[in-house]
């Protein structure tokens, strides 16, 4: 048979392939050869073949047929075989496949091998990919090795133990005795891995945490030695002795000192020492400072130490290395709530970071800036943030705009400033503003009564410039619809009033209706705005014409509105002024409103800008709504019963979505001087109909028309027959029971046709 290619020869060959297809062909050929070699149980070349397979696997080709071969290699007595076998196992096997369990016995044997490098291989493999079952089976062996005096093995056993604990947390206890003398080791490898093991145990168990608190003095000592000791060539990195170990010790100290006064005090000095003496010219020193800062902020450190930590972060912000600036901003975000004043001192540096070229830095600087806005710095900060909004990436604009709205709402020094800020956002980032900003801004504008004239003027002028930004256009339309009268009468006090005629205003609104740039929602806004102007402007005929044109619009929403507005003109003209009058001041619904914003946890990036926190506006008075509802449905109400002071009116709702269902609401009122109690309304319909009666609003009809009882009836009328109904009324009046039956035959045709 063909001689087996050496691995490097195969690699070279594959690399000569000029196309994907050529490569695939070579790979398939070689895989076939490898497969037959495996089938022949060729021991000599198994190792080489698996190695080749691993190379091809890295290129993305399937190699699952080599899994069992890896196991055979692991079982071999040759070190070369074991090395490749274990590597193959780590690359090709995963714990979700049962075949990996076949490794368990081999690993067990190799953990006890006479050669430490073989023991090392098995520890490494177990610690990298051991499944829970394997860990359970082999934990005892690992524990044994954790107690060995061979530091080469001890350090590996410690990290293997970490993996075992992660997979099978209940086994943590069994490693406790072996941890006893871990920190007395001189060997840095063992020290480092021991600290990692102790960290894992403390993070997982409060009991372990309390138990290991006594190690704080020892950890402090080790750290001190690292800092104070002279140059140690073996562990030196740019003049710092074993930075990896220093960082891990600092992290363990953080966990041990958190929430514990005594421990925190015991580490106070060393933290101050590290913070002040660590060389900051290279990344390695800053890595240690960074960990130190995190520890200082998390434990119960004295205020001087905390300020020191924040100042380190402040210096980080000025570092040329963008990585350092990045971690500084991340850390400051975490501490801005608890150490707000200290962070405020670095506000200008943070704001400068808004101009950084790196996207992640910019984002953090933006979030931090919003966290730092308060009543004192709002004007200055807003200037910077608005400038940032102008020039930042589109990805940021939505969040930035939302943040600005929230900050403005919370800290606006004046209503005029607030409106101006809102205008600025709408005009510069109007297309990125979130949809829910529109109702919020409408509410803001409505409630800023003295600014109405100014607002509508500014919005109108903005529309003249640009009608492409939908949120801006929607707010502007709404505003013009509401306050168009102020616009044409030139009542603006805040700035020079513009001269504009009713026709010019209507031109603009009609322009929105026809523009390709307008979304359907925007068109709906402008049509409604035009309609509202019919009670504010004198050019009613023009408006009537527009409304009637859109009665045949393809856009269903527009068509519906136009038809309803038409009906308003034709049949309910007397109601038009009342319906279209100025909106009253809107109350905010109780939500976790903007007052919570400053208190949000800075760690969650988007919490500050979480749209769930934006308040939503309530609808204006409910009574108003149903009036619009019933008359816009086009079906007039009817009186079904009127006797002995009890009057029952039926109103009809549009039978959307099912045209066979008539939804009728009964309204019972009582003009007598005594309440009608225990009021029950019943109804019956002919057999071709089906009726559903929902719960009544109450069973007391108050005297003297002081209120009504309402109840909803749904009538299914599939055959579209003329609606008829028999009703039965029972109630108690002045102590006596009353009962009456009546036929209702005067249903308007539209209710059943």
């Amino acid at each position: 048979h063909l001689p087996s290619l050496r691995v490097q020869v195969l690699i070279r060959t594959i690399r000569t392939a000029r196309t994907q297809a050529e490569e695939r062909e070579m790979i398939q050929k070689e895989c076939a050869a490898i497969r037959s070699s495996f089938r022949e149980e060729d021991n000599t070349y198994r190792c080489r073949n698996v190695a080749k397979l691993l190379y091809m696997h890295m290129l993305g080709y399937p190699a699952h047929f080599g899994q069992l071969e890896c196991l055979k290699l692991i079982a071999s007595q040759k070190f070369t075989d074991k090395r490749i076998g274990y590597l193959g196992a780590m690359l090709l096997l995963d714990e979700r496949q049962d075949v990996h369990l076949l490794m368990t016995n081999c690993i067990k044997n190799d953990l006890n091998h006479s050669t430490q490098y073989v023991q090392g291989l098995s520890l490494c493999t177990l610690g990298c990919m051991g499944s829970s079952e394997m860990c359970r089976d082999l934990a005892g062996e690992v524990e044994k090795l954790l107690k060995t005096s061979n530091s080469y093995l001890r350090k590996k056993a410690a990290l293997c133990a970490v993996h075992v604990i992660r997979k099978v947390p209940e086994l943590m206890e069994m490693f406790l005795p072996a941890t006893k003398n871990l920190l007395s080791e001189k060997n840095h490898g063992v020290l480092h891995t021991s600290v990692v093991l102790l960290t894992e145990m403390c993070e997982r168990s409060p009991d372990m945490l309390s138990h290991f608190r006594k190690l704080v003095p020892q950890l402090v000592r080790i750290l001190k030695n690292l800092i104070m000791s002279g140059y140690s060539p073996e562990h030196d990195v740019s003049g710092i002795s074993d930075p990896f170990l220093q960082v891990r010790i600092l992290r363990l100290l953080r966990i041990l000192g958190k929430g514990d006064d005594d421990s925190s005090e015991a580490m106070n000095d060393i933290l101050a020492q590290v913070a002040t003496n660590t060389e900051t010219s290279k990344n390695v020193g800053n890595a240690i400072l960074y960990e130190t800062v995190l520890t200082i902020m998390d434990i119960k450190s004295e205020s001087g130490l905390r300020v020191l930590a924040i100042n380190i972060l402040g210096r980080f912000l000025l570092n040329n290395d963008k990585n350092i600036r990045y971690v500084a901003l991340t850390s400051l975000l975490k501490t801005v709530q608890t150490d707000h004043n200290a962070v405020q001192r670095h506000r200008s540096t943070i704001v400068d970071c808004l101009k950084d070229l790196d996207v992640s830095i910019k984002r953090r600087a933006m979030e931090l800036s919003f966290a730092l806005v308060n009543g004192n710095n709002i004007r200055g900060m807003m200037k910077e943030l608005l400038y940032f909004l102008d020039s930042c990436d589109p990805d940021f604009k939505a969040d930035c705009a939302s943040g600005i709205f929230l900050a403005a709402e919370k800290y606006a020094p004046s209503k005029r400033w607030h409106i101006d800020t809102v205008m600025r956002v709408l005009t510069t980032a109007g297309s990125y503003v979130r949809d829910d900003s529109v109702p919020n801004l409408i509410q803001l504008i409505t409630n800023s009564v003295e600014m109405h004239a100014y607002t509508v003027q500014r919005l109108y002028k903005a529309l003249l410039d640009d009608i492409s930004q939908q949120p801006l256009v929607q707010v502007a339309s709404w505003c013009i619809g509401e306050y168009g009268d102020l616009l044409v009468s030139g009542q603006c006090e805040e700035e020079e009033p513009i001269q504009v005629s009713e026709d010019e205003v209507l031109d603009v609104l009609e322009g929105l209706l026809v523009s390709n740039l307008s979304t359907p929602v925007t068109r709906a806004y402008s049509l409604t705005a035009i309609m509202k102007l019919s009670t504010r402007f004198s050019s009613v005929n023009r408006i009537k014409k527009v409304v009637s044109i859109y009665g045949s619009s393809i856009d269903v929403e527009l068509q519906q509105r136009a038809v309803e507005y038409n009906a308003l003109f034709k049949k309910y003209d007397h109601m038009r002024p009342a319906l279209l009058e100025r909106m009253p001041i809107m109350e905010k619904t109780a939500t976790n409103g903007p007052t919570d914003i400053a208190q949000t946890n800075g760690e969650t990036d988007s919490t500050i800008l979480d749209t769930k926190h934006l308040p939503s506006i309530t609808q204006p008075a409910r009574r108003c709504n149903y009036h619009i509802c019933f008359c816009l449905a086009g079906i007039p109400p009817m009186t079904a019963y009127n006797k002995n002071g009890l009057k029952i009116e039926f109103t009809f709702e549009r039978s959307n979505p099912s045209p066979n269902i008539a939804v009728i609401t009964i309204h019972a009122t009582n003009s007598t001087e005594a309440d009608m109690t225990e009021f029950v309304f019943q109804a019956a319909v002919p057999k071709t109909f089906q009726l559903q009666l929902l719960s009544p609003s109450s069973n007391v009809v108050p005297a003297l028309n002081q209120g009504s009882v309402t109840q909803v009836i749904r009538v299914l009328n599939p055959q579209k027959q003329q609606l008829r109904m028999r009703i039965k009324l029972t109630y108690t009046h002045k102590g006596s029971p009353v009962q009456d039956l009546a036929e209702v035959n005067n249903f308007p045709p539209q209710s059943w046709q």
Binding site: R83, D94, R96, S114, F244, V284, A287, K322, N323, D358
Partner: protein
């Protein structure tokens, strides 16, 4: 550390070390997406980015990107040092390492990594000790049968 990937500027994978259990399909997906994301970064950007719920630390050495995924509590700056240490080890071992060394001797790159990190954490902080262990292990490959080692062991361990 959850995983480490080495890849070229063309997006070709040169080494993949996974410290979390994932299916082959998931690994391929993560690799593809992450490689794309990192290659799209501009030189002026910092070495860290957030990706899914992980922190990614990456650094480019000549034609190779070294990319690590770490967890929230891990220190990004020291991870850069970890990457740098690994590069130094490769450099010392291969003598002025280049991408081709890692392509043609990929198994050695893994062996070196496995002497430096275990389960995603550093097991040895001394450069010298890592290199010594690799050297000794390489020697073992020359020996035919390990029973010889019982005789040689003393000299091997004290070197």
């Amino acid at each position: 550390m959850q995983f480490m990937l080495l890849f070229s500027r063309q997006g070709k994978l040169r080494l993949q070390k996974w410290y979390v259990p994932l299916s082959d399909k998931e690994k391929k997906k993560i690799t593809r997406e992450l490689v794309q994301t990192v290659l799209a970064r501009k030189p002026k950007m910092c070495s860290f980015l957030e990706w899914r719920d992980l922190k990614i630390v990456y650094k480019r050495y000549a034609s190779l990107y070294f990319c690590c995924a770490i967890e929230d509590q891990d220190n990004e700056l020291i991870t850069l040092e970890i990457i740098h240490r690994y590069v130094e080890l490769l450099d010392k071992y291969f003598g002025s390492v280049c991408e081709l060394d890692i392509i043609f001797n990929f198994e050695k790159a893994y062996f070196i990594l496995d002497e430096f990190l275990l389960g995603g954490e550093a097991q040895e902080t001394s450069k010298k000790n890592v290199l010594k262990a690799i050297e000794q292990a390489d020697l073992l490959q020359e020996v035919r049968h390990m029973c010889f080692l019982k005789i040689c062991r003393i000299s091997v361990l004290t070197q």
